[in-house]
Symmetry: C2
């Protein structure tokens, strides 16, 4: 089902346009009006879902029956919708690149009814994915080189959101995921230890540790906080020594309490007991701020399991995105609502090499000297074009942009996004459109 | 795919149990450790997804291949997993009922490997759905009788989350949804007006209003804030009068600015112009607090479109839920981690008629005089039992519990949940289990 995955007003508007022959090309621009608090950048994501949706977009018989029988659309409307698919052009910023407020993540140019009907789905895919990818990127920055693993599958907004969180966190540099189905689908490193229930199912922690180490001697992560954390570390060491596990294959996981203090104490015990190669993993309600505090304190933590707060982008579970008409039938248009004004015309983002402001320009403008365009064609007359939509490509682009971002934009609190200036031509069009719509 | 929709540690633990013949019955209890800030209750939801998942749970050939080839599980493990499905018992609080911290939403009793493997999925479904249903219920309380419509499809965490938000908001009394696919699937009232782009696609607001009213004379909602809101109200009235639209079928939608002041001004203009039956709809970034302010101010708003902040449960996009082993092979167990202690044994929640504290008891205890149980059997040896899983039933239960909740629990800020006291038998078991695990 693709046709009905939309808001009713899109269908009302589209049928109104179709009845009136208003099928001239329209360009819609999808962008974030503002960045959430503390964010210095957004990591573009969700484009693959958009392209899949657009390529499949149509109304099937069941959907048309619903529109006729339940919404009362006449046969003439249903005939028109039955013949409708997406035949437009799409420009987009590739997945993994960073953008700022008012920079289009995607622009659609298509006959007006088509471009209107896909609004809901495009906003959904890009908003959700970009929010989660950005949150995961912030965890990556906070970890400062420590390994990160996605533990979010149990609290994302449904199964499909768990797949997305695993894929998006891998895109920004997470080392693996606990979600096995995602590891299988995307070729990620599956990571898993044991739960407290495992310890409790045995008659003692020692018995549980021994059983687990016997079963998984290649990579044994002992969860040590079920009863008393530091006693658990000692028990893990005893078991590892009894079974002659190499120190490099042993780790302890801390999932509660003062992680900094416990990590230091555990590190000392492991070192004193002759296991300097054993690693320490931390988990339990972590987000970028908690990780940054541990990093800043110098806590000897080798890897972090990051779950819920990344997977739902807890402090910013959505973005203030908009999908706005910027041109219809060759006429630039804009909205002037209080606090929600938009800029007219199809656009391009031009970016310099070394931290100078981005330039938001008209698509037809040449780039300023030394600048490169961010928006690239990804669909022409409904057919996909270009390449580079694989996870590996997106990860490379993110690494490039992460190195490019200035320190002020990387900050986790009170970040300063890179400035975006409007080109003279865009400002000129803005003034002329404003004048035309008020005169 | 159901078998791999889990965290890797579940598979590691399950295979370890299977190798050791640890397949005695285990009971896990799923509950929220605490309510999010400002919440006075939770609305249980997501059970239908859990039961569908449990009924279908198995490892298919592709999944087994992955576990063998990529994770290196030996054939003996794969054989055991291939024969595994969910054959357990499930007790749950039916959808639509309200619960409080530490009250189980669901308890599973099954052979240990089965009960362990389904943890990730059950936590995911119940946490997400309960969070969103609770957020929507708070909007319902804030609206104090005004109609509510779900506008969230464009910013939920994927398509399936859009279906869930439409269904869950209907469960707590929303009148309709903008998401057509959800309206079709669940038999909800589809609601839709026009977007700003519709206005902009015409050469003037008046022309756009006239076209829309001609096309949809049965229910014409004019979006009036594209250029100047109150001028837009006058234009809408002119068009309605020109086309002789009955006042009762006309509405204006305010989507930006000071909604209280604009609603009052619009109401006065509509009344002065002889359209006292015309309605006013408000939308634009609303949540329960914004709605409550408008309600308290007496803003003359007839209906609210509530989108993103409800659909992602913006201030609490997840809950601090846990799935904890409480009994294995007849032995009560508990966890003592700092701040994460659990209560042993299978449980029942007993509730009184008129706001007295709930009683968290052992499942085998009789109810206190005048109290009724909340947890009911929903699955026996892997087969669904009981009825009442329909949306209509859940909605009725929510209405009952909404009327039952005391004022302090209904508050949107600094709410006071109903107190939950532990029965003497539960306290006794707690003391004995604590003693056994430390001695």
């Amino acid at each position: 089902m693709t046709g009905l995955h939309t808001d009713l007003y899109e269908i009302r508007m589209a049928t109104s346009y179709l009845r009136r022959g208003m099928t001239e090309p329209a360009t819609f621009s999808l962008f974030a009006r503002a960045l959430p608090d503390d964010r210095g950048f957004l990591v573009c994501a969700g484009l693959a879902d958009c392209l899949d949706f657009l390529a499949r977009f149509h109304f099937d018989d069941e959907e048309l029956d619903y529109l006729g029988e339940e919404l009362g659309l006449p046969d003439s409307d249903l005939d028109a919708l039955a013949h409708l698919c997406f035949e437009g052009d799409v420009w987009a910023v590739p997945e993994g690149r960073v953008v700022f407020a008012n920079e289009p993540l995607l622009e659609v140019t298509a006959p007006l009814p088509q471009a209107q009907l896909v609004e809901t789905a495009l906003l959904n895919f890009l908003t959700f994915s970009t929010a989660v990818a950005t949150k995961a990127a912030r965890c990556r920055i906070a970890a400062d080189g420590a390994a990160l693993v996605d533990f979010s599958a149990r609290r994302t907004h449904g199964v499909n959101a768990a797949f997305a969180a695993a894929r998006l966190s891998a895109m920004v540099g997470f080392a693996g995921t606990s979600h096995v189905a995602s590891a299988c689908r995307f070729g990620l490193w599956p990571v898993g230890t044991m739960a407290h229930s495992y310890i409790e199912a045995f008659s003692s922690e020692r018995e549980a540790f021994r059983a687990f180490a016997e079963d998984f001697p290649e990579a044994t992560v002992f969860l040590v906080d079920t009863y008393d954390t530091l006693a658990g570390v000692h028990t893990a060491i005893d078991v590892a020594k009894t079974l002659n596990l190499p120190g490099g294959r042993v780790a302890v996981r801390l999932d509660s309490g003062d992680l900094d203090a416990l990590a230091r104490a555990a590190r000392k015990i492991l070192d004193d007991e002759g296991l300097p190669g054993a690693r320490i993993m931390a988990s339990g309600g972590l987000d970028e701020h908690a990780i940054a505090r541990l990093t800043a304190a110098g806590a000897p933590i080798d890897s972090y399991g990051v779950g819920t707060k990344m997977g739902v982008s807890a402090d910013a579970p959505s973005l203030d995105t908009a999908y706005k008409l910027v041109e219809y039938a060759g006429r630039p248009v804009m909205k002037r609502s209080t606090g929600k004004a938009t800029f007219p015309g199809p656009k391009q983002i031009y970016r310099g090499e070394s931290g100078e402001p981005d330039v938001l320009a008209l698509r037809t403008e040449p780039p300023p000297e030394g600048y490169r365009p961010l928006l690239t064609p990804v669909m022409r007359t409904g057919e996909r074009v270009g390449s580079g939509h694989e996870l590996f490509d997106a990860r490379s682009r993110f690494e490039h942009d992460l190195a490019w971002l200035p320190e002020a934009a990387l900050r986790l609190r009170a970040a300063e996004p890179v400035h975006v200036r409007r080109s003279a031509q865009l400002n000129d069009l803005l003034a002329r459109t404003l004048h035309a719509s008020t005169s």
